[in-house]
Symmetry: C5
């Protein structure tokens, strides 16, 4: 996620980092060169005059507006739903820890008897992050959980779900040992259900992309449109053709590139969600609630957090 | 569902598999030939000059944009709601199994005393899949359930609902045998309610299509528009008419075809939801949670999973 | 609801049944005749030349797109929310019956001691249907309920709500007779709350239409636009004016007609929701769950189900 | 709320009542006169020819479409959310009364021992109505509640919230007197939570309008656009300018006026929500459920209900 | 938040306060001067005629409409979700206080034994406000809470979450002292869960802005478009160019500025949410419910409340 502040309106025009311009620059230069070439030859290719005019492009504009508008909305919805799910992960983990800290007690409760549960809640966030990014959870699980449990979990496929089961087992043990009644247990269990929805929701976004033909259609329409555009403009605006084509091409290609990036919000690209930072926030918040020592530095400075 | 990765922007232009081009190719060729013909005769049909211009088509564009935009959104909403329902099926089945594994115990519990419940949860997913695709559930039900139960269910119409009832009866038996208190039972029962909503939601999407007149209107507007377009362009862009008409026709016909496919997300077409793969995922995840042996291979390789 | 399958793309162009063409045909013919007349007189009316051009209509197009797009979305949302509510009616009724069948038992339970509850759940669906369509519920209530109860209900105004109260009273009686504990009772009661929301939601859609001025504005804009259009096209496209005007008029008038139909989804028009079929489905599904005899035929064949 | 039926398509064109035409007529006449004036002087103002053309207005159309489309959607969402909240008020009040009537009993229950609760639920709806419309609740509260309670409430600011508290206190008293167990009490209390959401939601819509700059922007764009339009059309369509400008102006000004009206759905304008009628419906439905005498006449005849 | 009433349609055109005009005035003047300059030199810059026409700008309009429409919707959704969260904060705090006042009692309850809980609920709202605006919560916390608790909280990072934990601990103490049963406790605890969601939701909106590239793209497209526009209009509308360009530029720049403001709804700009006023409302409403003295003045007069 890029965390730049909005700048003065004039400087915004010349920002490089955080824009997707770097990504599409080669294609855009190609388009610019192509339109210079078309302008030089007045739209004549292989002795054939390609006679197009803006009106024809207005007709394509309908399709383009529908594809771009739809793909953009669908991509942003996926991005924002991903963010909401991670927000719910934070919220529900806090609720679980609040309930366990306040309600699971008995006369013989020892200090820190709820630590395992807090660690499980933290491990759940890290395990989900690693599952979504296809990275190795071994480091985090070994750091947070008892060795035997961590070793067992690392051999499994759906680790966050199994951690939720461990949390339920922990609750049952507290009930059997008299620190928890059935009513409070099932009240806490509702938050496990919510975490289960968060895990399932993230898996859904990761495993089911926007239907592939949309990408193909959007991509083809954008690029065919852009590379035919010089022929449509050269007769009426002359040497301004390359300028205008590059400007129009920039807006469409950039949107196509953003759509590609944020429609898979759990990746590692600059505009993807900052799963690392959010996992750290969850860890810090839960440790703070439990009165456990919080590691010093949460947010690393820099324009891009991951 | 097509699982191709997005490719290099240049290669995306020439992708064949996963595009709907193959489906609409005959109509598109017909349109291309028709516009070549119109160009040859300069828009004169049976000695009558069909005098149209792009401006008239801009006016139709308003209606076209509304129909295409709406039908596309409605179709995608159905697709994505179907996917969410199957995501909830996974989530809620996991929650049920987590609760039963952790909370349904007693001193005399034997290993595997919850296996029937896990099998019922798996059978529920398969039964729903078969109901949605109008396929025969006998194979899966016989494989997963006791013979007598499976035989009874196969004579019924709404099988997933009856499986949910069996799960409730199982819970009641556990309560009567002292392994479960009423509070925990009703906490678990809430997830049965959620599964009931999933089943009902899928039936709703399957049984109530987008109102038929939308399809008719969209279809007619798209095709009349496309086949009148050559007359509107031939006077101003000459021999480029077939190129431009085919390009515009491609975008509209392809969108019409995608809408047709994804608005019925539970079918067997390439862009429909991968119900088979998702049923397998549910099975594997639930077996893994219960510590039961998981069959080896989940995801078959290949660009299309069903 | 029209249940036709999508046909071959060519046949779709000539479908008559299920299209709204039959409804708007007279107006459309009037528009066609009017534009033939305008073409004959070259846009001169009472010796005054009505000098319009397509550009002026493009400006109206903005308003038209906003009205048509909005009214269409609002109408479809009402249609789809109505369908969701009836889906929830099915789902929640099933959940209630599942809970009652599985959980309301005691040593002295007689076979069929839950039949009254099942009948009440079925009667609720029929009573709601009759309320929404302003038809007489006497037949269905007498068929399903004990005579005294049915006679009392038929004198009341909000019958489905009173049936829900009867279901709650039934639950209380079971509790007093020892077949149900308070926890299970209140778990079941939550589904009565959901049914209460379904009833209230349907009443809301029925009693509060899309604000009237939208209909007026949409209607006026569409028809003034259509009947002024010939003047705008006649100078540039000549004898094609009637063809193009009829085509454009068809798309706009048809959408206006669909909006009118589906914005009141509980009516009796061809594209309204199939409340009869859905009530039958609820009856069959609940009877099947309860192991009671199911009447033979659910779905009547035919292109339109109501 | 206007409850006119849709009429024959021809009569719809000439409807006066229920249209917003009466509201915007003065401005529209001004616009019409202004464009007649511009036509007379051929777009020359103070010896300067105002040379505009439709193309320039097409560019403004983009902004206009965004503002009108957005403000309209936002306004309708507020309207419909307001309606949903009042639908939930009806639903949740019914659920509360159903629960209390069926579940709050004991051997010594006297007839009518739940009447106070029913009256509180009715008073809640009326108190909310008066709060939203800034009217005096004294009449309704005195009519419905015991004098002492009513006198206390009338000195407070947030009356519906305090009525909900009274309902909770009533439940607690029933528990203390043995007519209600804790489980049933908390099940009923969930519906008090829902009513609390309804009250808060209505306050939110009332106190937070659509951000003011949107109104200013929309308003300015619409009126500047309309009054510049004659200059843009007069050269190409001549004496049709006043007709076309008035038509276009009507569509835009009317939408602006509708947006203004329905974005504050709890007011007294013709298209606002019928809070009076809905309060009456709530009263009648709750009294009917409780078997109490229902006042005779609910819906007053007439095209506008408030 | 600006609380001006809508005025007479004529006065709306000349409103200064509450419009964003003051913010964008310098840029707008620059644009106006620039187009006067272009008009003077007939679009010739450094001896080169910049030959553009409106048609080319129509093509850019597609992209502009998509960016502006999307960014505007996304920004308003954030604003309205922020408002909904603060509405839920009010609602859920009231529900908590209602439950505690009515249900937490015992024979030995002293007057005011629930005051600490009410103060915690009020402190929660203020703490959230300070966290969202990065202001110092010391004043409010010291005012509302016991000194020792306030001192501890002020050293922490996520203060509202810790206050929720204190509320849960308070509930547990009441249970241990016999004033509360487990069932009622867990019913109340559900509202703590909801408050946890409110806190998490607000943090989400604050910490995750609209993806940065959208701002860059929108900004660039708007400003490049506006400053190229004079060249496109000067040949056809002559001396009206500065007027029209300034008008079009105003609509686009103003929308860009509104989007910037309301997309971060928890700030201090004129159109941001009135967190101060809402915190005060929460305090007053909760104190009124608890029968505690309410400070006199809630809403300060003035067109802008913060």
């Amino acid at each position: 996620m890029i965390t730049r502040k909005r700048e003065n309106w004039l400087r915004m025009l010349f920002i490089w980092r955080g824009s997707v311009l770097s990504k599409i620059l080669p294609r855009l230069l190609l388009l610019a060169l192509f339109s210079v070439f078309i302008y030089q030859y007045h739209g004549v290719l292989f002795h054939y005059k390609i006679a197009l005019n803006p009106a024809a492009f207005t007709l394509v504009g309908v399709a383009l507006a529908i594809f771009l508008g739809f793909c953009n909305s669908a991509a942003y919805d996926r991005y924002w739903e991903g963010r909401k799910l991670w927000g719910a992960l934070l919220t529900d983990s806090r609720s679980l820890v609040r309930q366990v800290l306040a309600y699971v007690t008995s006369a013989d409760s020892q200090a820190g008897h709820t630590n395992l549960f807090v660690q499980l809640a933290i491990a759940n966030a890290y395990a989900l992050k690693h599952q979504l990014r296809n990275t190795n959870p071994a480091g985090d699980l070994n750091r947070l959980l008892p060795t035997s449990l961590s070793a067992t979990l690392l051999q499994r496929q759906f680790i966050p779900v199994l951690i939720l089961k461990e949390m339920a087992v922990w609750l049952k043990i507290q009930e059997q040992q008299g620190r928890l009644d059935a009513i409070t247990k099932m009240g806490i269990d509702q938050n496990l259900d919510k975490l289960s929805s968060v895990v399932g929701g993230c898996e859904r976004i990761k495993n089911t992309p926007i239907p592939f033909p949309y990408h193909v259609l959007l991509h083809r329409t954008v690029y065919i449109y852009c590379f035919m555009l010089p022929f449509g403009l050269v007769d009426s605006i002359g040497w301004m053709t390359p300028v205008m084509v590059t400007f129009i091409g920039y807006t469409f290609m950039a949107l196509d590139a953003i759509v590609e990036e944020i429609s898979e919000p759990f990746g590692n690209e600059p505009n993807d969600l900052a799963l690392n930072a959010m996992s750290l926030t969850i860890e810090h918040s839960l440790l703070e609630m439990a009165g456990l020592p919080v590691p010093p530095n949460v947010w690393l400075p820099g324009p891009i957090i991951d």
